[in-house]
């Protein structure tokens, strides 16, 4: 069973539906007992980093995630929360599960912000969740991105600069795009994550 962490951020309908679609039992929860029983954890999120970080700690989910040994997948803002800190509306601490920080696209690119739409994956380090996904398109909506050591970056997309698309550190995975909105490719990524042991 996959636990989708519910901490009051974002719309979890599609994520839950996409896991059902690939035959995975999923549970939207903030119950520590349910999370303990889960094999995998997904940390979703849309909106502002500081609000989400506050909600994570108010629900005690921050401690649950920091002490966890199961595979975790952070999606979009959920991925950003895995890092040490963000510069969105001041400086806010994240979970610190992966070294690095969340910085604005603004000032670094000439293209439109947010980076919204389908962009092409370029795999920079092999990752079990990216099997066969070189040059595949996935759906992004974001204005900030992860600035981290290249060894944690598993794929990027070109948007004037190489924007971090996926990251991995041991059993901690993150994707900046929305796999639940990226058609067949996104469903495959979720499936590979759920199969990761």
């Amino acid at each position: 069973m996959v636990a989708i962490i519910d901490y009051g951020v974002g719309n979890l309908f599609s994520l839950n539906a996409s896991l059902n679609k690939i035959g995975q039992q999923a549970c939207i929860t903030n119950d520590i007992n349910v999370i303990n029983q889960a094999s995998h954890i997904i940390l979703p999120g849309v909106g502002a980093f500081s609000d989400a970080a506050k909600l994570l700690s108010a629900s005690n989910m921050d401690k649950v995630l920091m002490n966890n040994k199961k595979p975790i997948l952070g999606i979009c803002l959920g991925m950003q929360l895995l890092f040490e800190k963000s510069y969105e509306f001041g400086i806010t601490d994240g979970l610190g599960l992966i070294p690095g920080e969340i910085v604005p696209l603004k000032g670094k690119i000439h293209q439109k912000i947010p980076h919204m739409g389908w962009n092409k994956l370029d795999i920079t380090n092999p990752s079990p969740i990216l099997n066969g996904m070189q040059d595949q398109f996935v759906y992004f909506v974001h204005s900030f991105y992860a600035n981290t050591n290249n060894k944690y970056i598993t794929s990027v997309v070109e948007y004037d600069i190489a924007v971090t698309a996926t990251v991995q550190k041991d059993n901690i995975f993150g994707c900046q795009f929305h796999p639940e909105k990226s058609g067949e490719v996104g469903l495959r990524l979720l499936k590979y994550f759920c199969e990761y042991k």
Binding site: N11, F13, S14, A17, S18, N20, K21, V46, G47, A48, Q111, K112, I113, P114, H115, M116, G117, W118, N119, K120, F137, Y139, V141, E158, Y159, E180, K181, S182, G183, E184, G186, L187
Partner: protein, 252 residues
């Protein structure tokens, strides 16, 4: 680099897909869930649903459809029609919509944009504008083009951007349903005025119309159409292959 998006639009009334010419003479085309599945398999980059159901009582039908579509189609879904209050955002987002499009509701109360953006984020707010030429100026229309307001298209679009809209759909009433190509001059002016993504709507009749759109108005992010896709006059896979062969980046 982002690909250019191809977006089929489904106008829904009382649970069925409809599309007319110049918004008059609406006729039934197909079942919305079937059509959504068809478009997803054909490679549509996003789906737009406009609920043109007149009565509030029938709105429940639409949210049922939306829930069904969102349970099996995993590309972005935008929903519009009858969005007048922040509660209307909640109603459709709960059923699996990713973005909500506002039109006359925002003209009546512009703070609908900022209030919704604050609550759900700008990425969620699509400002849909119907516009028409009046004495050489582009004016905003309401009631599907039947009423012309005194509001200037460019001023309204810029204000919408400032209030927190994340995207603009521009539907030219002058070209809508005519199938003679998108309204390039109107789109050009809009793209030069705003920094958020712009979706072109109204006038597509052939594959070539999309090519001309993306070549001539480089700021345009997406092309939206309804009847040419519903009646299979243009097939989305053929269209995308054609655009790709012509050097336009699309998701294949």
């Amino acid at each position: 680099m982002l690909s250019k998006r191809i977006i089929p639009c489904l106008d829904i009334r009382n649970g069925r897909v409809v599309k007319g010419t110049n918004f008059e003479g609406v006729r039934d085309v197909d079942d919305p869930v079937e059509l959504a599945r068809y478009y997803n398999n054909a490679g549509a980059d996003e789906l737009v649903f406009y609920d043109i159901t007149a009565s509030v009582e029938q709105r429940g039908l639409f949210t049922n459809i939306l829930t069904k579509v969102a349970s099996e189609i995993f590309i972005p879904l935008t929903v519009g029609g009858g969005i007048n209050e922040v509660e209307d955002f909640e109603r459709v987002l709960r059923c699996g919509a990713d973005k909500v499009s506002v039109n006359s509701g925002a003209i009546k109360n512009k703070y609908l944009i900022s209030n919704a953006a604050k609550k759900y984020g700008s990425q969620c707010i699509v400002l849909s504008i119907d516009a028409k030429r009046v004495d050489g100026k582009f004016k905003v229309c309401t009631m599907g083009g039947r009423t012309i307001t005194d509001i200037d298209l460019i001023e309204w679009a810029k204000e919408g951007e400032t209030l927190g809209a994340g995207e603009i759909v521009l539907n030219s009433i002058d070209t809508d349903g005519v199938k003679n190509g998108f309204d390039l001059p109107m789109l050009e002016q809009l793209c030069n005025a705003v920094k958020i993504p712009v979706i072109a709507s109204g006038g597509a009749g052939t594959e070539q119309d999309f090519k001309i759109l993306f070549e001539k108005v480089q700021g345009v992010d997406a092309g939206l159409a309804a009847s040419i896709f519903h009646y299979k006059q243009v097939s989305i896979p053929n269209l995308k292959n054609y655009l790709s062969e012509n050097g336009i980046s699309v998701r294949l």
